[in-house]
């Protein structure tokens, strides 16, 4: 597990020819203020993998995607798709979107209302002047892939949200583009449908083995759909890595808290032993993972996710990472208990199995696996 987590550096991802973004900058003028949407951004998206751009709204992720698509012209920098240079401010290269051999699924789906399902999906092929019979065959094939066979002659306006989303996907797939771009494609579906669509989309993308860039602000979507996640903030890539690696081993506090609920506790490194780092904190001495470059004495933050805690039945590892605390509040959510516990003056959020037999004001012992606790040094 450990090795897998570490395989998160950019060099490992650069195998094959994906998308290279180099030194991209883009500023917008919004009335009188100037917004820096992309700030000297560099990124390598791996070949035939799904890369997700995840970040809060306004972080520049959509601007980056639209710049790759050619729908936005960056101020400076370079973009290369495969071995083709599509934008370079130095060499004055700008390929319009229709020359980039890409396709895109839009947030609003952008289904053309004056056409049938067939004409919507056939459009990219018609533009390429593919022979009629071939168009018919490929459209039918793609519609079957998204389980919309038999809908060919349906007017686009007579489709449900989920069906529109599938048409948009079929239209993006039909021309077998070099790169598939997704701009928050699931955000307009209702919760139930979104969950289904997410699973389906993941299945699809794994099966197709296509280079894809996927923009979302939904961490769950990012974690389930991607091979690689790039977390963005204020026009920059803050961290890039596999979903699991980035969820447990992120090295920026912003990324840790953006990816999910987390307990943040101040502390200081007191020693290292056997691949583990020991941190003195208000919780007592906690064994955890930390970047090996941090020297003893570094102050920083201990990050422990609520689901890391489990009720300790016996005392494993001679009481290492064992916390004795009082239950302040207990919320039953169906699949679990969400508990607020205190240890000394520190309050922690803890997720416990819903079968656990605890009550409010009980004193309980919790264990936190050192491999899943993370210490981040102060910058």
């Amino acid at each position: 597990m450990n090795k897998q987590m570490r395989a998160t550096t950019t060099t490992d991802l650069a195998t094959g020819t994906g998308i290279k973004v180099d030194g991209l900058t883009k500023t917008f003028r919004l009335q009188k203020s100037i917004v820096q949407a992309l700030d000297n951004l560099t990124l390598v998206a791996p070949y035939k993998k799904v890369l997700t751009l995840l970040g809060p709204s306004g972080c520049g992720k959509t601007t980056l995607l639209r710049s790759i698509a050619g729908l936005e012209v960056p101020d400076t920098g370079e973009i290369q798709i495969g071995d083709k240079l599509v934008f370079s401010s130095d060499r004055k290269v700008f390929l319009p979107p229709n020359k980039r051999n890409i396709s895109m699924v839009f947030q609003s789906y952008a289904i053309w209302p004056h056409m049938t399902v067939f004409s919507n999906v056939a459009y990219p092929l018609q533009v390429q002047k593919v022979a009629k019979g071939e168009i018919k065959r490929r459209v039918a094939e793609t519609l079957a892939q998204v389980q919309l066979d038999g809908f060919e002659q349906r007017p686009a306006t007579k489709l449900s949200g989920g069906q529109q989303q599938r048409v948009a996907l079929a239209r993006a797939l039909v021309a077998r583009p070099r790169v598939l771009l997704f701009d928050e494609p699931l955000s307009n579906l209702d919760a139930k449908l979104r969950e289904e669509a997410r699973k389906e989309l993941r299945g699809f993308l794994t099966e197709l083995g296509i280079s894809a860039i996927y923009v979302t602000h939904d961490r769950l979507e990012a974690l389930t759909i991607s091979d690689v996640i790039a977390v963005m903030n204020a026009g920059k890539i803050v961290e890039i890595g596999t979903p699991k690696g980035i969820y447990y081993n992120a090295s920026a506090k912003f990324v840790v808290s953006f990816l999910g609920d987390v307990n943040l506790v101040e502390g200081e490194i007191i020693r290292r032993h056997d691949g583990l780092t020991f941190v003195q904190s208000p919780l007592g001495e906690i064994a955890c993972k930390a970047s090996p470059t941090l020297p003893v004495g570094t102050r920083g933050t201990l990050c422990i996710r609520p689901e890391v805690f489990e009720i300790a039945t016996d005392a494993p590892n001679e009481g290492q990472n064992l916390l004795h605390c009082t239950v302040d509040q207990l919320l039953f959510t169906g699949e679990a208990y969400e508990a607020e516990v205190t240890i000394g003056d520190t309050q922690l959020s803890v997720t416990l199995s819903s079968f656990t037999d605890v009550r409010q004001e009980d004193t309980i012992s919790l264990f936190a696996d050192p491999e899943r606790c993370r210490f981040i040094g102060e910058q």
Partner: protein, 567 residues
């Protein structure tokens, strides 16, 4: 279909919809029925003797071919010109980052507020072949005998009517443009299509219902137009159907209302057909309004270095199309005869035209009558409209649906044609040649102008507000008075302003119904124009604009006061 239960909560007004329906039916159907009867009658006052002679007369006239051809060119030209102009203006104001968007948007709908006859006269003063000011200036500048542009022509009519009807087209096209999700175009580009291919296959087809709706509505308006054909068509002997009717009933010694009715009926049928097409198209365009997502934002096209070119063109266009004729009108009102600005003109400037108009008994009477019709007519019209709008929005039965269609039917009624219908209806009653006749005619013809703003006002009030009043024990009419009415004040004010300004400038219906003693402003202006008294036309026109501005201001003030008291 909803069950009948729907009627129950409104049991207090059981006869409400049927009686309204009857009233509106009488108002709108009377002129049509009388027109039909009249077209098969010898002449005014000779009812009962059935004859088809009028039809034979009219449709065997070889001149009619020419007139029909003129009409066709006039309405198709106007509709194309207005729609194109509105498309360009909407595109620039909605989809680009052009500066001064706000001013441009406002200016684009200004031609709707200025009485058409005045803008037409303004244009005529600039471009008539004998002493149009721009024509004179051109001749002076190049020492030639040529005319820059002769406005007394079909081209001139299309141009002026096109400018006047542009706001209607703009008000249809620009919302369609605003709700157009730009990612529909982007999806086409990333699919590999070029800009041109995208415009042809995606943008224009999606906007097609809106463009066609605007086209047909302008067809209806220009077919009904009388001001432009009368002021700049007739001097050049270019007749269209509406002026042809006018010639039959008002020019020469042998006025023939039977023949006029026979022509009018054909216009009415054409017009009703266009309105039918228009309503079909607007429901089609609603179909195209698809779910646009949460993240939807209208992408703005950056004009870059073309920014100022676009502003320059739009600025010039609007200045030239709207401001120039109004300024010309005011300038002319201060001079004894038409001349170019200069030292001589400056020395002759005076208020004498204004003075003489304000001392002319007929003009004064026209002024009084028009103000009376505007104030009283709008008040009665809006009152009726409130009841109708309520029935349409709140009491949804089959009859109220019919009521809606009946109300909007008068959209397709060209004033001059409907005026002839009313003429037949009133001629033997005490209403003939009274202000009452004009009042009824105005309200019947302009009912949609009152009902439209009020239906949208009612739609915005949540039904639960009314229901809680009923639950508290208030009666149906009590609720209407104490809850609904105060909430729709803004709608009432805008409906009143719209109707009052329509009535104040009314020309095409009045040209038939107004008689000595019941003169109105627009008809008096037309009479001055027929005698080439341009100074008086301009002065009376300016007075008309001033009065309608004052009325609008007063109505707005009362409206704000009322809503403030409420809070």
């Amino acid at each position: 279909m909803k069950p009948r239960l729907n009627m129950k909560p409104h049991a207090g007004g059981k006869l409400y919809v049927p009686s309204l329906f009857l009233l509106v039916a009488v108002l709108t159907a009377t002129p049509v029925v009388m027109l039909l009867i009249g077209s098969f009658t010898e002449g005014l006052g000779a009812f009962g003797n059935f004859t088809i002679e009028k039809y034979v007369d009219v449709y065997s006239d070889i001149h009619l071919v020419r007139i029909l051809l003129n009409t066709l060119i006039f309405i198709l030209g106007t509709a194309s010109f207005s729609t194109l102009l509105a498309y360009v203006l909407s595109y620039l104001t909605v989809r680009t980052d052009m500066p001064f968007k706000g001013i441009t948007k406002t200016l684009s709908i200004v031609p709707m507020m200025i009485p058409h006859i005045l803008l037409a006269v303004g244009w005529m003063l600039l471009f008539n072949p004998s002493n149009g000011m721009l024509n004179l200036a051109f001749r002076n500048l190049f020492h030639s005998h040529w005319t820059l542009f002769n406005i007394y022509s079909l081209a001139g009519m299309v141009f002026v009517e096109g400018v006047l009807d542009m706001p209607i087209a703009y008000l249809i096209i620009s919302p369609a443009m605003a709700s157009f999700d730009p990612s529909k175009e982007e999806a086409s580009w990333v699919s590999g299509a070029s800009n041109w291919y995208t415009l042809r296959k995606i943008t224009l087809p999606i906007l097609k219902p809106a463009l066609l709706a605007s086209f047909t509505l302008v067809l209806v308006r220009s077919l009904a137009s009388f001001a432009v054909p009368a002021t700049i068509g007739m001097p050049g002997q270019v007749y269209v159907l509406s002026t042809y009717i006018y010639r039959i009933i008002a020019v020469g010694y042998a006025t023939d209302y039977g023949r006029a009715a026979a022509v009018g009926l054909v216009i009415l049928v054409m017009s009703t057909f266009f309105v039918y097409v228009y309503r079909r198209l607007t429901s089609a365009s609603e179909k195209y309004v698809t779910v646009s997502g949460k993240g939807y934002r209208p992408a703005v096209m950056k004009l870059g270095k073309y920014k100022f070119v676009a502003t320059g063109i739009v600025g010039f266009l609007l200045l030239f199309l709207i401001v120039l004729p109004v300024v010309t009108l005011f300038y002319t009102s201060l001079l004894p005869y038409v001349m170019l600005p200069g030292a001589r003109a400056w020395s002759l400037i005076s208020w004498s035209n204004w003075n003489s108009v304000l001392h002319d008994p007929i003009s004064l009477r026209a002024l009084r009558n028009s103000v009376f019709l505007g104030v009283v007519g709008a008040t009665l019209g809006v009152t009726l409209s409130i009841f109708i709008a309520y029935a349409i929005v709140r009491i949804r039965t089959r009859l109220s649906g019919l009521l809606e269609n009946l109300t909007f039917l008068s959209y397709s009624f060209p004033g001059i044609v409907i005026g002839i219908g009313f003429m037949w209806a009133f001629v033997r009653t005490p209403l003939y040649a009274t202000l009452g006749a004009l009042l009824i005619g105005y309200i019947a013809t302009y009912l949609p102008y009152g009902v439209r703003p009020l239906t949208s006002a009612f739609i915005q009030i949540h039904q639960e507000l009314e229901e809680s009043s009923r639950v508290c024990g208030a009666s149906f009419f009590g609720t209407l008075r104490r809850i609904v009415l105060p909430l729709i004040v803004p709608g009432v004010v805008s409906a009143w302003i719209l109707m009052a300004s329509m009535f104040l400038r009314e020309l095409s219906l009045s040209v038939v119904l107004s008689r000595p003693g019941t003169e109105v402003l627009a008809v008096q202006i037309l009479n001055f124009a027929a005698d080439s008294l341009w100074g008086k036309v301009a002065a009376l026109g300016m007075i008309m604009i001033l009065i309608s501005t004052v009325l609008v201001i007063i109505a707005t003030l009362i409206g704000t006061r009322f809503s403030k008291n409420r809070v």
